[in-house]
């Protein structure tokens, strides 16, 4: 039996996205391959979220092409996303994961050992029966991670997963992300937190005004930024 085609590499070739005459992304060319986490950084409105949604297949390019390994935009089943403000379904913590495992179908029931393993992975094993909407912000983010991982993704997009979380909750989320990355899942994470980028990134994509200004290994980017915008951003200056 042949193995199913891979979602990777994701090849974005000269893609621009416009909405109502406004340029959201401009001439983006990028190849996302398996390996260490790719972190998107840049000021607010730089296009990080839009690039993640584009790569996830949630928004179409206005011009240019995008390919997901052997799949089309709506075909792949092994890419997943955690939104900045994930919506908790109105069911229990375990019920949220079971829903994702079943792909929304009512039957057959989700395998309980898989639900338990995912709860354990994100540190929510003790909260399986709690209503998901009653979790704290950090716990909801970890549940969203578990729900995304239920799809057994090859690539996981994370849009500002620790925005508005306190340091303890941030660490809990980052620990899960690091574990998942170590298990071989490609992580693409958007953040405006430079500390988080330093802790997690294998390579960095620096964006301003819908364009990629730099895409380099994290160590090089943080020690020797090339563009003046990146230098100013790393110095903590305002980049508009």
């Amino acid at each position: 039996m042949r193995a199913p085609p891979s979602e990777l590499p994701i090849t974005i070739d000269g893609v621009s996205v416009r909405s109502g005459g406004v340029i959201i992304l401009e001439r983006i060319s990028l190849v996302l391959t398996p390996g260490a986490p790719t972190v998107l950084i840049g000021p607010n409105g730089s296009g990080k979220t839009s690039l993640i949604r584009l790569a996830m297949g949630l928004i179409p390019p206005t011009t240019g092409r995008i390919a997901w390994g052997g799949y089309g935009a709506t075909e792949g089943r092994r890419r997943a996303i955690v939104f900045q403000r994930p919506v908790m379904l109105r069911r229990s913590v375990a019920g949220n994961i079971a829903f994702a495992l079943r792909g929304g179908a009512i039957a057959p029931p989700a395998p309980q050992d898989r639900v338990a393993a995912l709860l354990d992975l994100v540190g929510l094993a003790a909260l399986g029966r709690r209503p998901a909407r009653r979790l704290s912000g950090g716990e909801q983010q970890r549940l969203a991670l578990a729900r995304a991982l239920a799809r057994d993704p090859e690539i996981l997009f994370l849009d500002e997963p620790t925005a508005n979380l306190d340091p303890a909750a941030t660490k809990a989320v980052e620990d899960v992300v690091a574990k998942v990355a170590a298990a071989g899942v490609k992580i693409v994470l958007a953040t405006h937190d430079l500390g988080e980028a330093r802790r997690l990134a294998g390579d960095v994509i620096f964006m301003v005004a819908g364009r990629i200004l730099e895409h380099r290994p994290a160590k090089d980017f943080f020690t020797r930024p090339v563009t003046p915008e990146a230098q100013r951003f790393l110095n903590g200056d305002l980049v508009i």
Binding site: R77, A80, F83, R90, G103, G104
Partner: protein, 234 residues
Amino acid sequence: MVNGMQDGVSAFDLILGGDPALYAIIKLSLTVSVSATLLASAVGLPLGALLALVRFPGRAVMVVVLNAFMGLPPVVVGLGMYLLLSRSGPLGFLGLLFTPQAMIFAQAVLVMPIVAALTRQTVEDLWVEYRDELTAMRIGPTARVAALLWDARFSLVTTLLAGFGRAAAEVGTVMIVGGNIDGFTRTMTTAIALETSKGDLPLAVGLGIVLIALIIVVNAAAALARRIGELHAG
């Protein structure tokens, strides 16, 4: 004033004394209204959800019509059902006119637009919230409908109560298609109308008290169920 008080006392005597005629009417009324609400929900819930999720030519007109039909005049529905079910009508061969089944179908026609229109609004609001997550999870159309209906279940209880309230309080439709036949198709509302016109106020008042009490009990039970459900499911 004195007569009114006497009627009230007699009404309570009928209720507490377990008057068989009174309880037969109550039983039939509940059977008809609950069955009609269930039947209307079986059509109205999925129809409302589909209208919320699917875009097609004429959808806006359909939504307007559905909303307008929430205010369908019961006597007009009764007349329409009468024409359908009468011996010379297209469904006359079923022999349903002046039966409880006809009353159930007629009330279901009355209630269905309420259930469908309120469901559409509820599900559409929830879809705005869930769209990104369900799309990203690649949840198919049928599973989306099921998920949205399930997750909106506590709001939809109110929708079903609105439908049940409409059915339970309705008199014109069941009077026309049921015929208000004693011991067979006489419901609380038709009996109240009849007994009032005959001047038998104790029975009319007793039925009125029971009708209002039932509606309060059903709503209280639903509110309690909703509260407990929200506590456990969020």
